[in-house]
Subunit: 223 residues, 2 copies
């Protein structure tokens, strides 16, 4: 694939990868705060102009992966001919494979994933940026549905619900090896919401209380 790209595009991508690698090295060596854009450009052997052609600021390099995730969603939208979802449930169902693919992509390098979030946790400005990046992913998922013909209210809500499932999975474990499964579980819970309430209401109170503490599986109380 890569070798079939025009030379200029190959060089562009190589420069981008060098910038990302240089930044990661420097952040580990000196800490995020003590690394400047100039330091990163120097280590990557590119000019500052090249740096800013790829990244808006130093923070953006930390979220290079998130840009790839956004590109994946865009590609998914361009490739398919899935018909418009007819309601919120169908819309969330349509987002499920895309969201799970994003989880796999985000955690393909488990150590890198863990290092990424350790870095973010130590820096409030990166936590801010991370929260907005997550919102951008939700907005992109909504766009995918709009592109398929979903009405705006359905597309926006389904995108936000998909993000909610991912964020819940990240908060519950944050383990890269189980992130996709935890997200899948959260999606299953969400898609069963109306039915699970009805089932719970029909259960006698004794069983409901007995089922509450430490269920063996996250879904057991609702299935």
């Amino acid at each position: 694939m890569t070798s079939s790209l025009p030379l200029v595009e190959r060089k562009r991508r190589q420069a981008r990868q060098r910038i990302i690698a240089a930044a990661q090295e420097l952040f580990l060596e000196r800490g995020f705060d003590d690394v400047s854009v100039g330091d990163i450009a120097e280590r990557a052997e590119v000019g500052r102009t090249t740096f800013f052609r790829h990244f808006g600021d130093k923070q953006e390099v930390v979220f290079a992966k998130e840009q790839e995730l956004l590109d994946t969603i865009t590609a998914a939208g361009q490739a398919d001919d899935v018909p418009a979802p007819q309601d919120t449930g169908e819309a969330v169902e349509q987002l499920r494979p895309v969201l799970l693919a994003l989880c796999s992509q985000a955690t393909a390098d488990p150590e890198g994933f863990t290092r990424h979030f350790e870095l973010i946790e130590r820096h409030p400005e990166l936590r801010d940026r991370d929260a907005r990046k997550a919102q951008q992913i939700a907005d992109k998922l909504s766009e995918l549905l709009t592109h398929r013909g979903a009405d705006n209210a359905t597309a926006v809500l389904a995108g936000q619900l998909a993000l909610a499932c991912y964020q819940a999975a990240r908060r519950l474990g944050g383990d890269p090896r189980t992130l996709a499964d935890d997200t899948r579980d959260a999606l299953a819970r969400v898609l069963a919401l109306g039915t699970s309430t009805a089932e719970t209401e029909a259960e006698p109170p004794a069983r409901r209380h007995a089922a509450a503490p430490a269920p063996p599986l996250p879904l057991s109380a609702e299935e």
Copy 2:
């Protein structure tokens, strides 16, 4: 209420309000970027130390209201004796009145609400912070449920789902006069997810397609 507070606490709150008012005036007059913490402290007639006792940085003043929203959730958790929700649906139901109260509180001054988001939209750093503030609200809603005895998975997912409804409402209209209603509609859609899919599947295709474009009410396609 306020007059019964100790003098020192009354003075503390007055200083905080003066800082917020001074910052809002200055941001309108000069723009966010051209106002320093020193400018705000001077206009508010407080020292820089007092400023930083109330706000971590200049950005935080913009989100003074969000801190009040977090305080509201904390107060809701301390006051009540609601039993633990038994599943995600019940947990979201429990968050509904709290979330709608937050919507009302956030939009009590509609012009202020609109100005707030106009300011945020113009400044990427404020968009970053806004996204994290929203996540803090979701986390606080999850804490409220944990405090009531909900298991962690249910509490975290329900908090994220409540945020998803609020964010969807904000993205769809962003109109302070309809924000609470739009959030209520989103919550209703979410709580009916499992059932709505079943209903849609039972409908003949013709009706499904006829119902798709521009339904008269956001919920009509799913009720």
